[in-house]
């Protein structure tokens, strides 16, 4: 029986009762608290929250019914804050994981290889030629240039030195 009790943690209601004991009755601490570090820590937090609220509210004798209602609400809010403070770490982790997933999703299209915009091959309507066609194109242009002796740098006639000078280069210089 005791074993079962030590395994089952104290509920919020039990912790609340321990943190704000009834007036006049001594604070009875269950033996579970001495065994369970988590429950003892929770009780400590509850007590801290109650103390904070009490500090904010001022002397008890001056309170009106609205002040009591306000204090009650404030206490409940403090309790809720305490209760939700526990999953704060997992929540932070969750936000981090979500951010990482979002970044991954955004970066994914950049990693994907871009598909060719137009099909390649002889029937393609794209203006760019294939590597072989480019080489052939260059060959035909060179042949046309050489065959018609249009080139200026390689033609033998341009190599004849200028009359009156030893070298054509000297004339230019």
């Amino acid at each position: 029986m005791n074993e079962n009790r030590s395994r089952n943690h104290l509920t919020d209601a039990e912790l609340f009762g321990l943190a704000i004991p009834a007036v006049g009755s001594p604070e009875a601490l269950p033996s579970h608290l001495s065994d369970c570090l988590a429950c003892s820590r929770s009780l400590h937090e509850w007590k801290g929250a109650v103390r904070d609220v009490a500090d904010d509210m001022g002397p008890l004798g001056d309170r009106t019914s609205e002040a009591w209602t306000g204090a009650q609400d404030q206490t409940m809010r403090a309790i809720r804050r305490t209760r939700f403070a526990r999953p704060a770490l997992p929540l932070r982790w969750g936000v981090g994981v979500a951010a990482a997933l979002l970044l991954f999703a955004l970066a994914l299209p950049l990693q994907r290889p871009t598909a060719p915009a137009t099909p390649s091959g002889p029937s393609a309507s794209a203006p760019d030629l294939s590597t072989q066609d480019q080489a052939d194109d260059a060959l035909l242009r060179d042949v046309a240039r050489l065959a018609s002796a249009e080139e200026t740098g390689g033609s033998w006639s341009t190599l004849v030195p200028e009359p009156g000078t030893a070298n054509g280069e000297e004339e230019r210089l």
């Binding site: 002889p122 029937s123 309507s125 794209a126 203006p127 030629l129 066609d133 052939d136 194109d137 260059a138 060959l139 035909l140 242009r141 060179d142 042949v143 046309a144 050489l146 065959a147 018609s148 002796a149 390689g154 033998w156 190599l159 004849v160």
Partner: protein, 167 residues
């Protein structure tokens, strides 16, 4: 008797061939056939209504001439280099240079002939109006290029707004 007739026929054939080559080759080069692989340019092909069959046929003609064109081009370039080094050599023998010029021009003629015959075969594939249109497009392109070149020269000489002085 038969031998003499054959010799005459052969001479006649060579004279005729030389005449045809002498007239046809300059004509083809003057017309300045479109450069490069024009049949692979989609816009040009569409402009002259080139069918896929014609394109394939022209490609085949080019492929058949390609190896010879590569060889002749390399030969011409080698001869150009040889002549260039002779011309740069002050002590070069006049006879040697003369021979090199001859061989260079012969190589050029060979290349020109190979190109002209290839163009001639390509021309056979096209319909007359396609051929005319192709030459017309080439002419337009050449004029545009010339105008652009003149514009650049004018700009270099005195800027785009330079005017010739009034006399």
């Amino acid at each position: 008797m038969n031998r003499r007739t054959n010799a005459r026929a052969a001479i006649r054939f060579f004279v005729l061939a030389a005449a045809v080559a002498g007239v046809a080759l300059p004509m083809l080069s003057e017309q300045d056939f479109p450069e490069g692989k024009w049949w692979k340019r989609p816009r040009l092909a569409a402009e002259i209504n080139l069918s896929p069959e014609q394109s394939r046929e022209i490609e085949k003609i080019f492929v058949n001439s390609r190896t010879r064109l590569i060889d002749l081009k390399a030969d011409l370039e080698k001869k150009q280099l040889a002549l260039q080094s002779s011309m740069e050599d002050r002590g070069a023998d006049r006879r040697t240079v003369e021979k090199e010029i001859e061989t260079l021009e012969n190589a050029r003629a060979e290349l020109q002939k190979a190109r002209a015959l290839m163009v001639l075969d390509m021309k056979q594939v096209l319909k007359p109006d396609q051929w005319d249109h192709l030459l017309q497009l080439q002419q337009e392109m050449r004029e545009r290029r010339l105008m652009a070149r003149e514009g650049r020269q004018n700009y270099r000489q005195g800027g785009p707004f330079r005017r010739t002085p009034n006399r």
